[in-house]
Amino acid sequence: MSTAEANGREITLGQAVREALAEEMRRDPTVFIMGEDVAEAGTPFKVLSGLVEEFGPRRVIDTPISEAGFTGICVGAAITGMRPVIDIMFGDFITLTMDQMVNQASKTHYMSGGKLKVPLVLRTTLGATRRSGAQHSQSLHAWLSHIPGLKVVLPSTPYDAKGLLKTAIRDDNPVAFFEDKMMFQTKGPVPEEDYTIPFGVADVKRSGQDITLVATSSMVYVALDAADLLATENISAEVVDPRTTFPLDKQTLIDSAKKTSRVIVIDEGYQRYGVTGEIAAVIADGAFYYLDAPVKRIGAMDVPVPFSPVLEDLTVPTAESVAAVAKSLCTGN
């Protein structure tokens, strides 16, 4: 299955997420959704609109404002035969769920010697530039990527979102699924038919020869736009989307680096001690003898996300900033 088979059918990323949830809930009666304002409201982003009408309030469950509490409840439900999909409205609020996700969900299978399993999905958002301020704009996926026992998914297209979310729901491990809140209206081809996308398989969103742009989530579009800018300067950029930070498709990243010999890693999380560091280190090691230039990283600026639009826009990677770095790498100045 591929976007080709969509034959013209285009939906938004938000719709793709909703379709994945609806189809999996029809397939499997143990799948349910829990979170704040997920039922009649369909979340503030309206991503879940219509689900409570089809599946009822026993499977699309509104909660009190208790992120830790309902995440913990979903861990217990998952251990005992259900497949919860947790909705954490803003990624910033996963701070409240860390004990349950990290000390409980991620370790239960291992600590029990393989007896217990925790098949849950935690869906949340990332991404800035929504003018939401420092507590509603973070991209904290690096934290969960750091934790053994968790899998972490960062879809960049409607097609990937639907296929990866289905895989996440069918996975027997706890999975964190991050959606860029600015991408819910992004449209793309999605087939009617049921399909899944395996974890740990990077996707080359654009192939090129001179430089590799590794980009996650909405940064894929930044990278694609940068590639367009570079093309006008006769620089051919390859854009690779890991799609899952764990499992990480190291081979595809390293192979692309070996081919182009130059790499920039772009992610919207804070740059330091984040996703760009890991991926850059993996590539710098795996492609060491092929690299013509140091692997560069462009993450979010290491500052709390400012409210003022003129400042907020300076904190995120842009096509221009990426193209500028790429150009200096390729032209060696």
């Binding site: 304002d37 009649e40 509104d62 909660t63 830790a68 939401s132 400012p306 409210f307 003022s308 003129v310």
Partner: protein, 337 residues
């Protein structure tokens, strides 16, 4: 049905009432009108695409912020919420610097870095609005601990919506406040809704029983009536300042507008009729009627206040619209001291 009808609210004590002179009530009238007009202006700025982000209007709840803050000293502390403009104004913030912050201008209280959900006004003890529901329970409680440790008699008021009752963090803070007899007041504004979900779907048992379970004194008041709020606030603040430990004040109120400006079609979670019934108990209307019935020095004193406030709002908004955005160089300033 009008939910306040079913509330167990005590009638006001005439003696207490008359202990406060008319000028003070007029001050509170002005304070509520200022919040109302400020928020109307925010609504305009927002719908006019002049204000970025989200705008959670305080309209309808003015009596709570004003009734409480009028019982506080400038050096007393408050912590606020995502719906914080009213608290900020009632604690004495100036309109122009607030508008500037809401528009992300450098002249704003936080140089434009905080925005609507993070305005802080240290000089007047406002330790900041907070966009994490319940997130400031620790800050307010810690400010009270600090006041106790430093031997001042400052009181801290923690404003939060009833949605914060879902956060266990609040109970951790209340437990320690009670154990250590801290001068903190947990001020719960129960406007009935957590975003789009009615609080009855998110709150088991009796709200009053929660603070009481932690040994915290409980008071309940009609949050639409600034007189009731203020008389209760005076009593509770005095008690707290005397070192008698924490209190919890439940204010029954209602937000007249959407959860945020964009929340227009509300029929899926509440009825027009319910909204209308609550609007009959508009806090400004209630105070006006009472002031008039009590007799005013001259008939258009209220009108003059309205005009003064309107002028202040217009000037403040104009100031903010004209004010410059921060320089690019500001972006990585103030990450560290």
């Amino acid at each position: 049905m009008n939910q306040t009808k079913s509330l167990p609210l005590k009638p006001l004590d005439p003696a207490e009432l008359s202990s406060i002179d008319q000028d003070h009530w007029l001050r509170m009238y002005g304070g509520m009108v200022k919040i109302r007009k400020f928020e109307e202006q925010v609504n305009q700025l927002y719908t006019g695409a002049k204000m970025p982000g989200l705008a959670h209007l305080y309209i309808g709840q003015e009596a709570v912020a004003v009734g409480i803050c009028e019982a506080l000293r400038t050096d007393d502390y408050i912590t606020s919420t995502h719906r914080g403009h009213g608290h900020c104004l009632a604690k004495g913030a100036s309109v122009d610097l607030m508008f500037a912050e809401l528009l992300g201008k450098e002249a704003g209280y936080c140089r434009g870095k905080g925005g609507s959900m993070h305005i802080a006004d240290q000089e007047r003890g406002n330790l900041g609005a907070n966009a994490i529901v319940g997130g400031s329970a620790g800050i307010a409680t810690g400010a009270a601990l600090s006041s106790q440790m430093r031997g001042t008699d400052q009181v801290a008021v923690c404003f939060f919506g009833e949605g914060a009752l879902g956060q266990g963090f609040l109970y951790e803070a209340m437990n320690m406040a009670s154990l250590w007899k801290l001068p903190v007041i947990y001020l719960c504004e129960s406007n009935q809704y957590n975003e789009y979900t009615h609080c009855s779907e998110t709150t088991a048992g009796e709200v009053r029983a929660r603070p009481e379970a932690f040994g915290i004194a409980f008071e309940e008041v009609d949050g639409q009536d600034v007189r009731a709020v203020h008389l209760t606030a005076k009593r509770v603040v005095e008690r707290t300042r005397r070192g008698e430990g924490p209190s919890f004040v439940l204010c029954h109120c209602y937000r007249f507008r959407g959860h945020h400006v964009g929340d227009i079609n509300r029929s899926f979670y509440r009825s027009k009729q319910e909204e209308e019934e609550w609007k009959e108990r508009d806090p400004i209307k209630l105070l006006t009627e009472w002031l008039v019935s009590e007799g005013l020095p001259d008939s258009d004193v209220l009108g003059r206040i309205d005009q003064q406030v309107q002028a202040e709002i217009d000037a403040g908004a104009e100031f903010a619209l004209q004010a410059p955005f921060p320089d690019a160089g500001e972006v990585d300033q103030h990450v560290y001291c």
